[in-house]
Amino acid sequence: MVNRKTHGERNKKLSEDLLEGKVYYDWVITTSFYSAIHFVEDFIFPCNIRQKECKNISQAKKALKMPSRHATRKRLVLEKMPPGTSEMYDWLDDRSRTARYTTFKQTPGEAAKSKDYLAKIHKECYKNINS
C-alpha cells in the first residue's frame, strides 16, 4: 500500500536539504513539486468521480477519460483543492515543467518560494488531521 504522506514528506525533506545546500535550485523546485503531488493525491483520494469510487490517479484518469495522469491530476486539483492551494500547486507545476524553456536555471528566490508554497500545501492537506 502506497503511503503518499510518507513519500511526500521524504521528498519535502530532500528539497529542504537541497535549498540549504544553495547549489541545486532547480532540483529544489522539482523535488518540491513531486512532494506536492503526493500531498494533493493524499488529500483528494479516495473520491467519487462520475459515480465511480476512485482510489488513485489511474482510476481517476479512466473515470474522467483524460489523456494523461498529469492532466487528470491538474483537473482534480482545480476541482477539488481549496482555493489558494490549487494556485500554489500550479505555480510549482509551471516552474517544474517549463524550466527547460529558460537557458538559466531557477533562481534562489524561486527555490525559496517553492519551499514556502510546499509548506502551505502540506498544511492545507493535513489541517483536519492535525487539528
Partner: protein, 173 residues
C-alpha cells in the same frame, strides 16, 4: 488588440489560424480514425436516418474535426488575451504570449518578469485568473487547457518555437 500597447508578432492570429486550419484539415483527411469512432459515427448516421458511404462519412468527420479545432483555437486565444488584459488592469505586465495550437494538445505560455513571478499577490491573482480560464474551457470542451506562466529572463524563444509555440505576441510599452 491591446490599446496603448505595441504588439510585435509575425502575423495576426487569424492568419496563423488559417494556416494551421489547412494543416489540420490535411491531417484529418489523411489521418487515422479509431474504428470505434467510425462505428459510432456510422451508427449515429443510421439513427439520424442517413445512409452515408464511407467516403462521405469520413469527409463529414473531417469537417467536424476542423470546425472543433478552429473553435477551440479561438477560445484559447480569447482566454489568453483576456488574462493579459486582466493582469494589466491589476498592474502586472505580461511580456509575451506564446501559443501552440496543436489539434491534440494545445498549450499557452505567458511570460512575465522573474520578480513578478515570486510576488505572492501576483501568484494569487494570476493563478486564480488561469483557474477561471481553465474552468471555462473545461466546461465547454471537457478538456484541460494547458496555460502557464514562465519567467521572461533567459527565455529560450527558439526552443519554444521548436516545441510548436509558433504563434507569439511580444508586448512593448
Amino acid at each position: 488588440m491591446e490599446e496603448a500597447t505595441k504588439i510585435k508578432s509575425v502575423k495576426g492570429f487569424n492568419e496563423y489560424l488559417k494556416e494551421r486550419e489547412v494543416q489540420v484539415r490535411n491531417e484529418a483527411t489523411d489521418g487515422y480514425y479509431h474504428v470505434n469512432v467510425v462505428a459510432d459515427a456510422y451508427i449515429k448516421g443510421i439513427e439520424d436516418g442517413k445512409k452515408l458511404g464511407k467516403e462521405e462519412l469520413l469527409k463529414n468527420m473531417s469537417e467536424a474535426f476542423v470546425e472543433t479545432f478552429v473553435k477551440k483555437a479561438n477560445k484559447i486565444y480569447l482566454l489568453s488575451k483576456d488574462t493579459v488584459k486582466y493582469l494589466k488592469n491589476e498592474g502586472y505586465k505580461v511580456e509575451s504570449l506564446h501559443i501552440n495550437i496543436s489539434s491534440t494538445s494545445p498549450k499557452v505560455i505567458l511570460t512575465i518578469s522573474n520578480k513578478t513571478l515570486v510576488d505572492d499577490n501576483f501568484v494569487k491573482k494570476g493563478y486564480r485568473k488561469l483557474a477561471e480560464s481553465k474552468k471555462e474551457y473545461l466546461s465547454i470542451y471537457d478538456e484541460m487547457l494547458d496555460i502557464a506562466f514562465v519567467g521572461n529572463k533567459y527565455l529560450d524563444r527558439e526552443l519554444l518555437k521548436e516545441d510548436g509555440f509558433e504563434y507569439f505576441e511580444i508586448y512593448n510599452g
